[in-house]
């Protein structure tokens, strides 16, 4: 066994493959339509499943009747998830699924199913806390210090109301799967964020042994936190296959159900009071917040965000249970809401103090856990944004089309999840790397191959990487930005272990001890003496008949310097606002992010850019709209559930902090943090431009015009 120090990442200056701007290895299959997703499963004997959701926000099933559907030609199975008496808690909740020879027939059969409901009272909107009655559950008040006295003696106090709506994940590949229930086990092709975990989830729900479920997923069309479990529809799909003679059944959610029931991000509403002393130091915070994440209520956003050391704080939070689809993890759970609520209130306080927000935030970074990081970042971001020349006091931009700048902060954990990797070196020189992980599009495949290539001193093209099946060594699900840290560390360890074995086999022929060897440029050579070397293939030929196979394990709790957790970021937005139409346009966005060791800057920057664009959608376009009258979601489609297009995002400057001091921390995932501060930065920029705060997001023309006219939208 090599000792821990052998596993360490090679020093920055000697890296040959990691840290390089390498194009993603699965780019061409994807860009040519050849990559297969769960949605693309196709076989001649494939059956099509259609899921039916509850049409009401709250109802009890009175009777069910599938006789007409059953009698239809081509229908092979019907699977109910309710019975008379079942209570349904949201529109879209699973009722029944149908399998048929064609999708058209399955849809006809779904329409032919009759369910009688008793419609029950519902609450689907949480914006007016007074109107939700006993649906609001207050968590106990939390007090630090003496906020009342602090507010009294403060130099400046600001009070404001801010809100951010429920968003849906809206993955372009809908949730769903194909299941084939054979006598030899269950073949399961899901769209998932956890190939090593989702099979066990399905097995448990089907009450079959976990080792009989075989998961295979090579590509996934987006997850963002919503694709961890096998879901009801996975279980229903399996039963449809079982009852259709074991033929494979594909059942993907239709877009409306996808938006109603396959995951969303809780809202955040807050009445905030915040105060500062004469120097602009924040002294007190008080908030009354509420949120909904569906019938289970809604989590408390961690406010005051980032500025966790404000001395005097009073917090009250209520979780509101609504008859809406349940929330799921959403790219930095609760952080975008917290960043928006906090940074909006702080920006308003800075305005009252007549301070430039950069100066105000900078001064108060002492109240955060990583003041030095934020201080460096705010300077960097301000420089790239040209803040000093662009910033004008709030509302002083002339003309009908006004411009403004704003800023916000973010933080996240990261770290590396539990991951096992198996590395094989064959006698013919071929190498195989296996992990039960998945590539959500962030580049997991690419960085794993980079790590293996770096350790072995081989070109990327020689690495045969296999992921996406639960028959490979267990790796954690991709959530919380933990994949990069996890898979890179386990791969590093497995390949170092395997290489060690190769050194042992080769050392005698070079007349040195194994620890005198190194692997570079597809050769095993004596350290510092390229003349004493054996090409990789010949080195491997020295192995006996048994290939080398070694494991590498990343223990989430003991990263051994290979990966780390805890980052900060500063983000700045520049917008223009047409005060006649209310339309907000993005001009420029700057994100400066702390990331640890960057395995591949090209992919990491894409990850940041994507997170920023997701935030732009949330700031200007996206929101789930519920109608209290009917209990229905009004925009369960992609015409009115709006996403940004290519012309809506402006210039984006994403900067990774790749200084040696951060590099030495090891790998830190950044899927989440860059998505956090965007909404707040844009909201502050809009306020800076038009001189008044648009109290909620998204900042649609209607809300912007309302704010300008002093009415509530």
């Amino acid at each position: 066994m090599p000792n821990v120090s052998d596993y360490q990442w090679p020093p920055m200056e000697t890296r040959k493959v990691i840290g390089k701007r390498i194009s993603r290895v699965d780019g061409l299959p994807k860009a040519s339509g050849r990559a297969k997703y769960a949605y693309d499963f196709y076989r001649k004997d494939l059956l099509f499943g259609v899921l039916v959701g509850c049409p009401y926000a709250h109802a009890r099933v009175k009777s069910i009747d599938d006789s007409a559907a059953k009698a239809m030609k081509g229908v092979t199975a019907i699977e109910w998830s309710v019975k008379p008496g079942s209570e349904l808690q949201w529109q879209g909740q699973e009722i029944v699924a149908v399998a048929a020879e064609t999708e058209e027939t399955a849809r006809d059969a779904a329409r032919a199913i009759k369910v009688e409901y008793e419609v029950l009272p519902h609450v689907v909107r949480e914006d007016d806390l007074a109107a939700v009655g006993n649906r609001a559950k207050a968590a106990g008040e939390q007090v630090t210090g003496d906020p009342d006295t602090a507010f009294k003696s403060a130099a400046q106090v600001h009070e404001g109301f801010y809100h951010i709506p429920v968003l849906t994940h809206c993955c372009l590949e809908a949730h769903g799967q194909t299941v084939e229930w054979t006598p030899n086990g269950i073949n399961y092709w899901p769209s998932t964020q956890g190939v090593s975990t989702v099979g066990g989830d399905l097995a448990q729900n089907l009450n079959v042994p976990a080792n009989t479920v075989h998961v295979d997923m090579q590509n996934v069309g987006g997850g963002f936190g919503s694709k961890f479990s096998a879901d009801h529809w996975g279980v229903m799909c399996a039963n449809l296959s079982k009852n259709s003679g074991g033929r494979p059944v594909k059942m993907m959610l239709e877009r409306n159900l996808e938006l109603m029931t396959a995951g969303n991000r809780p809202s955040g509403f807050a009445q905030i009071k915040v105060a500062a002393d004469q120097d602009g130091k924040i002294v007190a915070w008080q908030s009354k917040s509420w949120a909904t994440g569906g019938i289970g209520g809604g989590g408390a956003p961690p406010i005051p965000y980032v500025f966790t050391n404000i001395p005097h704080v009073r917090l009250n939070h209520s979780a509101v249970a609504t008859n809406c689809g349940g929330s799921r993890a959403w790219r930095a759970p609760n952080h975008p809401q917290a960043s928006y609520l906090t940074c909006s209130a702080l920006d308003d306080l800075a305005h009252k103090l007549n301070m430039d927000p950069v100066e105000f935030f900078d001064k108060n970074f002492e109240l955060t856990a990583r003041a030095d990081t934020y201080k460096w970042q705010i300077r960097k971001a301000a420089e790239l944004m040209e803040w000093a020349s662009k910033y004008k006091p709030r509302g002083s931009s002339p003309g009908p089309v006004k411009s403004g700048v704003g800023l916000a902060v973010c933080t996240w954990g990261g770290g590396g999840h539990t991951s096992n990797c198996l590395a094989t070196i064959n006698r013919d020189g071929s190498v195989v790397i296996e992990l039960g992980t998945q590539d959500l599009g962030v580049g997991a495949r690419t960085i794993i191959m980079q790590v293996a290539a770096e350790t072995y001193g081989l070109p990327l093209s020689m690495i045969d990487l296999r992921i996406g099946k639960n028959s490979y060594p267990v790796s954690g699900p991709s959530g919380g930005s933990t994949t990069s840290g996890g898979v890179s560390s386990s791969t590093r360890k497995a390949t170092v272990n395997a290489l060690e074995k190769l050194y042992e086999a080769v050392a005698p022929s070079l007349g040195v001890q194994p620890n005198q060897l190194q692997a570079v440029d597809a050769r095993i050579q004596v350290k510092g003496d390229p003349s004493k070397a054996i090409p990789w293939k010949q080195a491997c030929a020295k192995l006996g008949t048994t290939p080398i196979q070694e494991k590498g394990f990343n223990d989430q709790r003991r990263p051994e310097g290979l990966n780390a957790s805890g980052v900060g970021g500063v983000q700045m937005a520049e917008v223009s606002v047409d005060t006649e139409t209310g339309i907000v346009r993005m001009k420029k966005f700057v994100a400066v992010q702390d990331v640890g060791l960057v395995l591949n800057p090209k992919l990491a920057e894409s990850q940041m850019n994507g997170a920023v664009i997701m935030g732009i959608c949330g700031a200007l376009l996206e929101e789930r709209v519920m109608d209290q009258q009917t209990g229905k979601m009004l925009n369960a489609d992609m015409e009115f559930y709006k996403l940004a297009g290519i012309g809506d995002v402006g210039e984006i400057v994403s900067v990774l902090d790749m200084r040696p001091t951060t590099d030495k921390r090891g790998v830190i995932g950044i899927g989440e943090p860059c998505a956090v501060g965007v909404v707040a930065a844009i909201a502050n920029a809009v306020t800076n431009a038009i001189g008044v705060r648009v109290s909620g997001v998204p900042m649609t023309p209607n809300r912007v015009l309302a704010a300008l006219e002093g009415r509530t939208a």
Partner: protein, 220 residues
Amino acid sequence: MSAKPPRPPVDRETKPKRSNFSRRGFIQGLGVGGGVLSGGLLETALPNAAEAAPATIGPDPVTITLRLNGKSTQVAVEPRTTLLDALRNRLGMTGVKRVCDRGACGACTMIINGKVMYGCTVLAIDAQGKNIETIEGLAPEGKYHPVSEAFVNNDAQQCGFCTPGFVMAAKNFIDLHPDPTLEDVEKGLGGNFCRCGTYVGIRPAVLEAAKKMKGGARNA
């Protein structure tokens, strides 16, 4: 609620004009023993047929011929089946993606008679006799189209689910606008959405591909 400024359509038919479905061509393609022809259809197809009941076909599947990537391909579809579903569900051509299934996202973009169309808004039977190009036809096995390559060079994709639609839209856009500016690209590709947020890569990718295709790499 409308926050989005309207996107100017650039050579993009989001709502295809319903073609005049050629009954005569249809019958010829069908052969006699199809068993799906109503008397009305036969009658109206005959020259000088007397006033007759409106033609109906279906609801059972009918065999049609599609001109797909230069090859004639027969497929049995119900008359209500979209071109997108015919390709994905009947022919296993899954490069073209289904996301919104109602003309809002561009994931199912294909090129029909030289124009970008959403496959989910075209009935398969209406696509007969037209030149249909899909992502599968862009490059032969083992080769890649310059647009696909430019997407990879510029990391214009993450999960990749929107990518085939974008690549098709970009290919057609470049064919029609060989010398685009960045602004043209933003307008021309306004009919496709990406949830992962890859637009920062798509912009230079399209410009790079346009340059390469001008240099003669058009037919990979």
